[in-house]
């Protein structure tokens, strides 16, 4: 078996599976335990005040998300679900297998699982990012300075190279397994058995798109239009356009001629915004993107590819499909024109994650998605909020996904 490194708690004695799991036996942890809420508060505050973490948008976003006001909102929502006749109880131990190349992704699911009263094993893989290192360091600091929080009783962060035996050993000790990754990765891990009463939550790769109603866009005054462009910029460029929720297809709905004019203004303004230099394309991404553009031009029904600025390539495709799968990021957009928004429905797939929209009512989008049946997106947000990680993700309610529903009916009321 390969060697296991333990990042939290830190140990360098080459521990075995049983030793690592030993401190993690805390079946009486409850939902929203004060010591867990205090831990979140400490993490949030330490990240947002730390000099080292200041320049990392990923860490700052996590700090923001774990801030007390945000957790308080979770608690309100959670409490509203629970009644005397219908409890939520922890599932037990959660084994997280986050993606190797999206730093900090694990922290969000960890927080949801922990706040519901579960203990956690997080297995990291690949290169340790500086953000992940900072997170583990902060966790260690808190555990040292505030031993009363007993962090190591509910959280274990380890790393090992691919080894089905180890995945199996930890799976065997788990009640929920959370798997992120490409289709192949998820297939491989799911072949490793879980105990009979355990469940898998899976988060396969997905891709995202955005839809704009031309008329609504054209009726904006200049500053509102600019704000829409900036919102789109934040959605698209924050993670090099490589998060699952980053839009890579822009669909315009309306009279084609008007849509083309509007799209032109939109991307020109985006190019202006990009020229301010807030986003920097790396050499590697630039090369990768050029190669992707070339391959797309040959393999997909792309009619033309325009370069609005070095950071912005727009490829017009005949239909709003073909944008899924491997992607280069770095400011590459597919663009399609539709007369009617309802035409998008049949083109959607369960491989699509986030549809960010501008200019549509809830009812319109709702009707379109209902007609798509099982083949449609997993979330709809306004442009500008595509990257906000939330309670409902890829079809799961993460606020309850790590809990069991326990109806409690004692017959008491019926008799009295």
């Amino acid at each position: 078996m390969s060697e296991i490194r333990s990042f939290f708690p830190e140990r360098d004695d080459n521990p075995g599976v049983a030793e690592l799991l030993a401190p993690l036996c805390h079946p009486t942890l409850q939902a929203f335990e004060p010591r867990v809420l205090q831990l979140f508060r400490e993490i949030s505050r330490r990240i947002s005040r730390s000099e080292d973490c200041r320049n990392s948008p990923e860490l700052q976003a996590l700090a923001f998300w774990l801030r007390p006001a945000s957790i308080q909102r979770w608690q309100e929502e959670y409490d509203s679900l629970v009644q005397a006749s219908r409890l939520l109880l922890p599932r037990g131990r959660v084994f997280h297998l986050p993606p190797g190349n999206v730093p900090l992704q694990f922290a969000y699911c960890w927080a949801y699982a922990l706040v519901q009263g579960n203990t956690n094993i997080i297995r990291l893989s690949g290169r340790m990012s500086t953000d992940t290192e900072a997170f583990c360091r902060i966790l260690r600091e808190i555990a040292d300075e505030l031993p009363e929080l007993r962090v190591d009783e509910h959280s274990l962060i380890i790393g090992f190279e691919h080894d089905e035996n180890l995945v199996g050993a930890f799976s065997e000790a788990s009640d929920v397994r959370v798997i992120w990754g490409g289709d192949e990765t998820i297939r491989r891990i799911r072949r490793v058995p879980l105990p009979p009463r355990a469940i898998d939550l899976v988060f396969p790769d997905r891709s995202s798109l955005c839809m704009i109603r031309t008329k609504a866009c054209m009726s904006l005054d200049r500053s509102a239009f600019q704000r829409l462009v900036t919102d789109f910029f934040n959605d698209a460029y924050s993670f090099d356009q490589l998060a699952c929720a980053s839009p890579r297809l822009v669909v315009w709905c309306g009279k084609e001629e008007e849509s083309r004019r509007c799209a032109e203004d939109f991307f020109r303004m985006l190019a202006d915004h990009l020229s301010e230099g807030e986003y920097r394309l790396s050499t590697g991404s630039s090369i990768e993107r050029r190669l992707f553009a070339t391959r797309s031009a040959i393999d997909l029904p792309v009619s033309r590819i325009r370069e609005y600025s070095p950071e912005l390539l727009v490829a017009e495709i005949d239909s709003p499909e073909g944008f899924r799968g491997y992607f280069c990021g770095g400011g590459f957009f597919f663009q399609a024109f539709l007369d009617q928004y309802s035409q998008l429905g049949p083109a959607l797939s369960r491989r699509d994650q986030t549809l960010s929209v501008f200019g549509f009512s809830q009812d319109e989008i709702g009707a379109m998605l209902s007609l798509s049946g099982s083949e449609s997106v997993h979330r709809v947000v306004p442009i500008g909020r595509a990257l906000e990680f939330g309670r409902f993700w890829d079809g799961y309610d993460l606020l309850t996904a790590f809990s069991r529903w326990v109806p409690v009916d004692t017959g008491d009321r019926a008799r009295s």
Partner: protein, 80 residues
Amino acid sequence: MNEKKLKEAFMRAFDLSPDRDFEALGYRKIEAWTSVGHMRLISEIEEIFDVMLDTEEILDLSSFSKAKEILAHHEIDFQH
């Protein structure tokens, strides 16, 4: 009093000195007030005043005076 606390939140979030012209601060108008800096500012304000801002308020809070206006809705008084 509350004005001083609000200044404190801005100073912490953006590393500002106390003699700064706070009324002139605006979202994306100073280098530190990026979308990332904004999250820090919200956390600081919420902590200092022990309030919980909703999404609309978070989006609206784009200047020092706007912050006072929003906090006034949470019964935080800037008149005295």
